[in-house]
Symmetry: C2
Subunit: 828 residues, 2 copies
Amino acid sequence: MGEEWTWRYEGWDPAAERLREALCTLGNGYVATRGAAAEASAGPVHYPGTYAAGCYNRLTSSVAGREVDNEDMVNLPNWLPLRARAPGGPWLGPDDAEVLGHEQELDLRAGTLRRRTRLRDAAGREVELDETRLVHMGDPHLAAQRLRITPYGWSGELEVESALDGDVRNAGVERYRDLNGRHLTDLRTAVHDAGTGGTGPGGTGSDSSGSGGAAHGSDTVSLTCRTTSSRIRVAMAARTRVVPPATVPATAATTAPAAEATAGRTAVVQRFVLPVAAGRPVTVEKTVALHTSRDAAIGDPLDAALERVAAAPDFAGLLAGHTAAWDRLWRRAEVRVPGGAGHVLRLHLFHVLQTLSPHTAYLDVGVPARGLHGEAYRGHVFWDELFVLPFLNLHLPEVSRALLMYRHRRLGAARRAAAAAGRKGAMYPWQSGGDGREETQRLHLNPRSGRWLPDRSPLQHHVGSAIAYNIWQYWLASGDTAFLHTEGAEMLLQIARFWASSADWDPDCARYRIRGVMGPDEYHDAYPGAERPGLDDNAYTNVTAAWVLARALELAAALPAPRRAELFERMALDRAELDRWADVSRRLRVPFHAGVISQFDGYGELAELDWAGYRARYGDIRRLDRILEAEGDSVNRYQASKQADVLMLGWLFPPAELAALFRQLGHRLDDATWTATVDHYLARTSHGSTLSGLVHGWLLARSRRADAWDHVRQALLGDVADLQGGTTGEGIHLGAMAGTLDLVQRGLTGLQPREDALLLDPVPLPGLSDFRLSVRYGAHWGVGLTLFCGRLRVGVPESDQPPLRVVLDGRTRTVAPGTDLSMRLRPH
Amino acid sequence: MGEEWTWRYEGWDPAAERLREALCTLGNGYVATRGAAAEASAGPVHYPGTYAAGCYNRLTSSVAGREVDNEDMVNLPNWLPLRARAPGGPWLGPDDAEVLGHEQELDLRAGTLRRRTRLRDAAGREVELDETRLVHMGDPHLAAQRLRITPYGWSGELEVESALDGDVRNAGVERYRDLNGRHLTDLRTAVHDAGTGGTGPGGTGSDSSGSGGAAHGSDTVSLTCRTTSSRIRVAMAARTRVVPPATVPATAATTAPAAEATAGRTAVVQRFVLPVAAGRPVTVEKTVALHTSRDAAIGDPLDAALERVAAAPDFAGLLAGHTAAWDRLWRRAEVRVPGGAGHVLRLHLFHVLQTLSPHTAYLDVGVPARGLHGEAYRGHVFWDELFVLPFLNLHLPEVSRALLMYRHRRLGAARRAAAAAGRKGAMYPWQSGGDGREETQRLHLNPRSGRWLPDRSPLQHHVGSAIAYNIWQYWLASGDTAFLHTEGAEMLLQIARFWASSADWDPDCARYRIRGVMGPDEYHDAYPGAERPGLDDNAYTNVTAAWVLARALELAAALPAPRRAELFERMALDRAELDRWADVSRRLRVPFHAGVISQFDGYGELAELDWAGYRARYGDIRRLDRILEAEGDSVNRYQASKQADVLMLGWLFPPAELAALFRQLGHRLDDATWTATVDHYLARTSHGSTLSGLVHGWLLARSRRADAWDHVRQALLGDVADLQGGTTGEGIHLGAMAGTLDLVQRGLTGLQPREDALLLDPVPLPGLSDFRLSVRYGAHWGVGLTLFCGRLRVGVPESDQPPLRVVLDGRTRTVAPGTDLSMRLRPH
């Protein structure tokens, strides 16, 4: 399969720069770096940002006269400044020079970004700047840049400046700019003596010349600061060296031009003056180490950063280690799809892997909705892990486990939130801040009307079911019973308890009801005209709650007796409560109307929207809620969804499991009802969420509908084409990206990891029917699944493990390690 | 079995206070608190200390004109001050009042310390102070005190003062007192408004009145600081309330006397003036919350501490939750031994469990040699985990895993240390500081001679084998293949590589040799008169290295092929290197002399010591090294051991495994050789380490020697009776304590967890032949092993797991969940 591994943009286009920047962000799970082509200029296009996983700040701002408590993913000091100019002239960049050519290329396989710009300055001198950068996947504390500068048609001198700049603010999201964007304080800079700063791993390199100093011959500088409210200390150390051109004898290496370094109040700068000759490139290498006070196994972050940068190899060495680490990662998460879809999927995989990399397994971080790629949503943790973990479980289960442990560390906060709401169990927040508290903004702005409206999304309690689902799926994929019986059980049972305590018995309909909630569809946050927020009997909420309760009961029965005893005692959980859970799990209300599942009680009585009219009038109606509010109307009045809600059930549960779940609830969900339900909501959804295309594509692929591909295509293009018109520039949509990978991995293969076997049921999409992936399942690594020409081949690598059991078309087969098995698929 | 669960001291004895204090330290894995009876006084007996796991500081001191780099477990602010006096009089304490009675009682089951003191002040007023304290096992961030004060024969007023005191220093170890003992800086104190400070879980409680302020009616105060060099921020918040006596109507509760609080520079103090009546107790409750900047899932530590203390229940509620948590813990780590041995073992278990508690699973901390019970060894991490993990593996495997992950996070440091020493692989340090670097002092003092001598113990590279042994044992007990194949393999293979690269081929003896090392026996650090430090062919080092190499090869062969490929590639490990490992594992030199294994090459040529003469002259010769050095001689000249070295092999490996290991090395280790070896070294050991009695007792019990019990008794009494004459007051010996529990658990039962079965081979000691323990093995929790009247009963609690396989006397039996099996033991 021919594979395209680069993502390339040509030409200088300031208007497109923010989107490109988000899509070309580099990261390694610990930190992510974006930087505009123009960061060498002082011009208006200037959005560099380095975000470290878990570096949050709480900010309290007054908006529209109301206080807004919030967490912010902090923009760290900028490590990218590396620029050149003719002595006395302006810095070479698109603002002050003519752009003769510009190209940027993200190399997915190598995990590098290369940008080449050819410029002509006011004096007519032509220069090519050729920069390659990496954020190291082998050592998460390192990043590096290599800048090659070639003068064309002239010789003389060039001045090069390399800096660490702490004068940064969070400014990546336009509508947040009224909030305080400065989150760094206590800035200190220093220049370090090259003699000790470069002594290698043994040196401490901490003999700083102090803030405000200057030194000659130094190659290492540092900057420390702390975040204003979370008080996380951040230290960066940078080593910049000029690499003599290859034509200079090797012995001259030690006489490479020395830097003059100046430690300022908010930045530390190194300057080199280099003799340059026409057509002969000079190379500058900058290596940066980052440590924060959240890092384990270090003393002071500054000492650690200085030691690390001193011990780092040169750029070629860093690049070799970095690409080798990426190579291993690509093998761990192999998803090979040919053609254009494969090209987009590789980009998605790249961003998923660099946001939630193997390093994430060692951090206390959650799944950031927008990756570490931008400031939108302020780094809050929503339910996106529901779209991410099922993919990761089968490649990097240790990362899934760490992400579940992130939730476990915040179980106390979720329990306090439930108690404060008068419920039992654990109520996980819709937007989780660093300490696990609800950080959803209390008001949000409708830019169309200019009105600040209450934000009721904290009623999206279904996030708890997402966590429970992931616990179960992680266990099935990994076989990590120790986790399931300990932290997994602690969360699952508390989430189940929350659902049971949220359900009220209604004698009128002889059903339990969960009232006053929001489902995934954010258009509906109340009944039309109602004072009371939220909706009753949201089908998605209730069906997933019933599933959670059933799994909790299953687990409670399976636990080893001593563990069950201690857990029940600690939770004060008894047989009577379990009986109630069982009762609720069978009698939660699921409303229906006109032969389809109702999104919530009363949905069928809402008005029908004039979809064609609104489309004609507004064109883009994805934010129908804002359009209607600005008209003085409300989307709450209509049978209109922003995104899949009821239909999400068909994404979470394979058909047989969904039917069984409805049976458990006393309903018969036949194919006709489900098909009618799908049709009903498909016709009434504006696709205002990036997740809609994904869910709909998945469902329609499984029911072999011709229009499945349109939806899948929407999902694939979401970020790449910035379908939401500008939101990608504020950060990629991680859930949607991971979801497209899972669409291939589970959606099209029908792959279901079970306790004792892998279930498979491929439904190849036309145009996406030949592909290969390899998964980790229990102690089997790299189990290959290849779909090609109507056959499925399962290959199990050699190991000392027992044979793998595979179930296809109801038949169980075993595949011994070191062998493979090829099966013909039933023709569809 | 009648069981004594309290540890009681009667009478006021300042001379014994430091020992009692160490043995009565309370902790919960996150923090440990000791506090002398006299902390209410300003007198000379004043050693309070709170140590938080992982709170280290690097200190650099100049001793004897040489620089000593070191890490120090930091003495945190003192949360204990809670004292009373008659207005105007001196604080009630042993310094200024007559002690009529004093009793302190450590309740192991409940995890509380109670101290009752009856005093008569200068004015003849009698008062009883009855204090109970706890360090919460359910919530590691909480601790609490309840003080009941009863006046006898008089009525009037009492002034009570409660404080948080940051004016502390590390002063618990006399010989360190020349070093800088102050490790806290940036102290800030504050008084918090009772109205918001006590609003419960939702309140932020952060409206501090600022440092230096004073307030009336406040019940909450706080103190924050940071450690001087490691810059860890520490925040404590204290809530003190007077509980009205039960005879006062309940409605008066809200009119309890309000405090006057003063926030000073280094301390914050609350004062209450209470009316008291003869014979009527008044009760003061103090609750303290502690957070540090190393905590996950919090924002600022001060906010977190204030919220936590505000949400904490009253003392009775805290006590109930605390004892319930301890009750669960006692069940998880059940070791029931009757009689006096059982009483001591319960104390040991208490200290092991509160140092390495379930909370430890969530921290980046290692096994502190002296617990969190004192400042000796400065919190460094040695090899003590070798004596601790085999016990923990079978009760709290998640804690074992976390302790192994502590080592994994420091694998980079160990690899850099190996590289700096010109070796390959990972060289773990003898004394590991917080960042994993070697922190052994470079000089140590012989108090007898007053001379500072070089400390060569960093040559104890065998610590790497201890880590490898624990990885393997943890895997066997837990079945955690995912760990073994990932972090476990990464460490094990790098340790194996270190051994292979440390071994030089000697054509003269046609063997590989590892030269210039120290074994566990610290008496020998060089050949007599040699300039070169270290010894060659230390038998313990070489045999364990051969074992490590064999396990690494076994694991390398068993790894799933894709994982093997990525690991080998990352390590640049190839077939040729594995072949060399195999060769080294079979041909490492093990020296023998006079029919016994030599401790090292040339050991047999050393002089014999006049043991009787030295015993007669010095009495206690445990520190024979110091005695000889002071005499101008050197212990290096003699066949004299401080502790078991060769004999440790018989502790690590059951007889059959040890014999196989010698066979692997081309030697025949028959019973006669081993018995002769045991006799040889037993006669030449001064038992200068607390671990000797343990190892010797274990070996002799297995060879059914009558004197086994003497050694076991020494091991049991090590700390309880402070056999080392004062060292227990500087912190308990955690390895020895855990080792005595393991002696029962593995030594006397012959228990060996294997991949597919539990092996058992009981050898009951006379006087320790009836006992019961329960272990966790794989997914089986609470597997009961009961030895009683020559029978062994194995009980497997109900679960959905497959039956347990047990091997006894070469016969395999299965025990289904929910059943048990009783077997008669072969008579011995």
